[in-house]
C-alpha cells in the first residue's frame, strides 16, 4: 500500500523544480535588465568610453567615443586599439600637448622654414574650405609638435563629405594641389571625413630636411 505522502512526492519534487526554474528565469531577466541599463549608461555617458580586452582588441565603444574618434562602434569592434596610432608615427613620436608651439629660440633651418610656410598655406586653404563648405559654426585648429614633426589640424563638425566623390570635382583639385605643395616639403596630408561626421584635415611636416629614405613622399589618406 502506498501512503498519500509518498504518492505526492513526485508532484512536490516537480513543483520544487518549477520554483527553481522560475527563480532562474527571474534572475536571468534581472541580469538582462541590468546589462541593458549598464549599456544605456555607457552609451549616454558624455565621457568617451572604450573597453579593450587583454590583447588590446576593442570590445565596446560608446557614443561619445564615436564622436571623439569619428568612427562608428560597428567599424571598430573587434579591431586593435592601435588602429588609432598612425603607422608613420610608430617608434618615432612622443606625447604632445595641445597648443604647443615652436619656441622662438629654437633653431629653424631652411627646409623647416619651407615646411612651416607650407603649413601656413595649408591653414589658409583648410579654413577657407571649412567656412565655405562645412556649414559648421565652429572650426578648431590645433598645432602640435613632436620631436620629429609639426602637425596642423583643422577640424569642423559640419556636414562632411565622401572623399572619393570630392576628388572627382573642382574641390578635389584644390586638395590635390594642397597635397602637391606638402609633397615638396616631404609632408603628409590626411583627410578624415564622411557625411554628417564633420571633417578633419591634418598636414604633417617633418622637422628634418628629408624623409628617412631620402625620397619625398606625400599621400592623401581617408581614415574612414
Amino acid at each position: 500500500m502506498v501512503s498519500s505522502a509518498t504518492r505526492f512526492e513526485p508532484l512536490a519534487a516537480a513543483l520544487q523544480h518549477f520554483d527553481e526554474f522560475m527563480t532562474i528565469r527571474e534572475l536571468e531577466q534581472q541580469l538582462l535588465e541590468d546589462r541593458l541599463r549598464l549599456a544605456a549608461i555607457l552609451q549616454t555617458s558624455t565621457d568617451a568610453i572604450v573597453v579593450i580586452d587583454d590583447r588590446g582588441v576593442i570590445q565596446s565603444f560608446n557614443g561619445a567615443a564615436e564622436r571623439m574618434f569619428r568612427c562608428s562602434e560597428h567599424d571598430v569592434l573587434g579591431t586593435d586599439l592601435e588602429r588609432f596610432v598612425p603607422e608613420r608615427s610608430l617608434g618615432r613620436t612622443e606625447p604632445v600637448s595641445s597648443g604647443s608651439v615652436l619656441h622662438p629660440d629654437e633653431r629653424v633651418d631652411a627646409a623647416m622654414e619651407g615646411g612651416l610656410a607650407t603649413v601656413g598655406e595649408f591653414l589658409q586653404e583648410a579654413l577657407q574650405n571649412a567656412v565655405k563648405h562645412s556649414g559648421s559654426h565652429r572650426v578648431d585648429v590645433s598645432l602640435q609638435r613632436s620631436a620629429i614633426d609639426v602637425a596642423l589640424t583643422v577640424r569642423d563638425s559640419g556636414i562632411g563629405f565622401q572623399l572619393d566623390e570630392v576628388l572627382k570635382g573642382r574641390r578635389g583639385l584644390r586638395l590635390v594641389s594642397m597635397k602637391e605643395r606638402l609633397k615638396l616639403v616631404v609632408g603628409e596630408l590626411t583627410i578624415d571625413s564622411r557625411p554628417q561626421y564633420g571633417t578633419t584635415i591634418r598636414a604633417c611636416v617633418p622637422l628634418t630636411a628629408a624623409s628617412p629614405s631620402g625620397v619625398p613622399h606625400a599621400s592623401i589618406t581617408s581614415l574612414t
Binding site: 572604450v50 587583454d54 571623439m68 606625447p95 565652429r138
Partner: protein, 102 residues
C-alpha cells in the same frame, strides 16, 4: 606589448595618438576619455608580476596629468593570497581606487 613583453615606447605612441584625437574632438566640450581594459592581466597570469607593474606605472606616468580614466579589470584568480599576497598589494598600490566587481 611587443613579443609578449611591455613596450613603453609603443604605449607612449598609443597614448600620444589617442590624446591627439581627444584634443581634436571639436564637437565635445572638455572631452574626457575612459579606457577599460585588462592589458596587464596575461602578464600576471603568466607570473610576470614586475612586467605587469611596469605597465601600470608607465600608464600612470603617461596619463596621470590627462583627463583620462583607466579602469583595469583583474580577475581575482590572478591573486592567490596564500601563495603570493604581495602582487595583490603591489597592483592595488598602482591604482587610485580598488573595488571588487561582484
Amino acid at each position: 606589448m611587443r613579443d609578449g613583453r611591455p613596450d613603453p615606447q609603443r604605449l607612449a605612441e598609443s597614448v600620444a595618438a589617442l590624446e591627439r584625437l581627444r584634443l581634436e574632438a571639436a564637437d565635445i566640450r572638455d572631452p574626457r576619455l575612459t579606457l577599460i581594459g585588462e592589458i596587464a592581466v596575461p602578464l600576471l597570469v603568466d607570473g610576470h608580476v614586475q612586467e605587469a607593474l611596469e605597465i601600470e606605472r608607465e600608464w600612470n606616468s603617461l596619463t596621470g596629468a590627462l583627463p583620462w580614466l583607466g579602469v583595469c579589470c583583474y580577475p581575482m584568480s590572478c591573486f592567490d593570497e596564500r601563495t603570493a599576497p604581495q602582487p595583490f598589494h603591489e597592483v592595488c598600490a598602482e591604482h587610485g581606487f580598488v573595488s571588487h566587481a561582484f
